[in-house]
């Protein structure tokens, strides 16, 4: 599937990049952008041979530009919940097992 960047896409990209363009500029940027993308699409037909050490991924295009917005995350709490050897006396709630057993030394 060939990427056909629309003016709307270029406008979204400008928004991500914290730039604004007049409608005249947008026309010209979008047209130049299409030419350059058509040219770099050239790499799609390149045969890649011995790249077992390089992660290969699908090159199928999925238009999934997401909103540039923050989302709530409980990642830190989840991680901390699973830390072994929790120590409630420690202000961070994380205990580090002793390296030396002082009782036997």
């Amino acid at each position: 599937m060939k990427a056909q960047p629309s003016e709307a896409l270029v406008s979204r990209l400008a928004q991500f990049a914290r730039l604004t363009f007049s409608s005249e500029e947008m026309d010209s940027y979008a047209s130049e952008f299409r030419d350059v993308v058509a040219y770099v699409d050239h790499i799609e037909r390149a045969y890649v041979s011995h790249t077992s050490d390089v992660k290969t991924k699908s090159t199928q295009t999925v238009e999934t530009l997401r909103d540039d917005a923050t989302k709530p995350s409980d990642l830190a709490d989840t991680l901390l919940k699973h830390v072994p050897g929790q120590d409630n006396n420690n202000s961070r709630g994380v205990g580090v097992p002793p390296v030396f057993d002082t009782a036997s030394s």
Binding site: R18, L19, E32, H42, I43, T61, R66
Partner: protein, 473 residues
Amino acid sequence: MNTERTISEITSGLHSGSFSVAELVEKSIEKAEQYTEYNAFTSIHKDAALEQARIVDEKRKRGEPMHDLAGVPCAVKDLLCTKGIPTTAASGMLREFVPPYDAEAVAQLKEKDVIIIGKTNMDEFGMGSSSEFSAFGAVRNPHDMERVAGGSSGGSAVAVAAGIVPFALGTDTGGSIRQPAAFCGVVGFKPTYGRVSRYGVIAYASSFDQVGPIANTVEDAALVYEAIAGHDAKDATTSRENVIPTHSSLSEGVKGVKIGVPKEFLGEGVNRDIAGFVRLAAEKLANEGAHVEDCTIPVSEYALPVYLVLSRAEASTNLARYDGVRYGKREQRGALNEMYIATRTNGFGAEVKRRILLGTFVLSSGYADRYYHKAATLRTEICSAYAKLFDRYDALLFPTAPEVAFKIGEKMDDPLKMYMSDTLTVQANVAGLPAISIPVGKVNGLPVGVQVMAPSMREDVCFRVGAVIERSH
């Protein structure tokens, strides 16, 4: 003192007492101020340069040991930080920026008592192939004022070609030293990636950027290269390998050296007369005892699109720092986001914005695999292809640019056409290899350069082959 153009001529003049460093620097600044029509400089620093010249004269009088470059005037591309001297990257964004430290390459030159007379004009942030995309206006070619000087280190190439300074520093991300050197009829050298520190170089595309010299002769370029090359703890990408001495190899000749001439780089899209100059250089190298034969690099056709994808991706991330808070210009507006947008929209020029847009696109979710990751994978393939080729050859010979200097404004409205001028120079940047451009003649009165590319860390081979080409033209 009017005829000395090479560093060795200058050094012998200083040794014999024919002129002082102060007189030499004064003359150099006089020329820089006289040739304003070339628009080669963004700033000239007369007082600081003359003060430094007097200090070097004093050292010389006291009989202190001096480096071969001591007292030699030079110009520095305005992309390298210079302590206490404005460093603008030819951008409205950094017009007022005065760095508190020197780039490592600049520090190395200062340590050797080189006198920096000024900063040279260029494409904004190094993004261009003509030195037209500058907040200070276009640089003009001394061979024809209606034509471009090449880019992005156009001001550095012009400063040398016009005889203002015997050498200048440039940076090369996709050909920005070699292509302007070819357009202006001087020598331009890009070292192996990691051979010269990038510390203090305003970043465009960090995995491609490299500092190098522009000079009148291969010997001068070698001398300056040796002065700035080597490991730097402040740049983790610099190599710890010893720098192979290059100066001594200049007179070794090319007997037994195996040279490949890639057929792909002499065909479609390359001016016939320029291709003819490459054939002529190949013939002369063969006459000097080199084994010269045609070769082929099948993946080379992907170097330009790979470069376009990766360099734009790196540019878009590197330039995200210019937000009106941390560096340079700030457009004071209501809310924070409005301030960011106004600062970036008014601070960056058209070509920089174009590259940021493409970079944002190729890194975006949904397109990164198709463009960025594919290009990164292909870059590995291209590196392997060149490494294999260098199992068979000691050096490759091909044109620096497919055409001579074009007219100012000719490609401004057609970015893709402009990008195509880099086809032959990006090969060395994508593969991270050293390459030198040597002037070999003229087509319709405009200079032509041929390029010698060598294996990684074999800068000495570039200079050795380059010196033979230079002598035979």
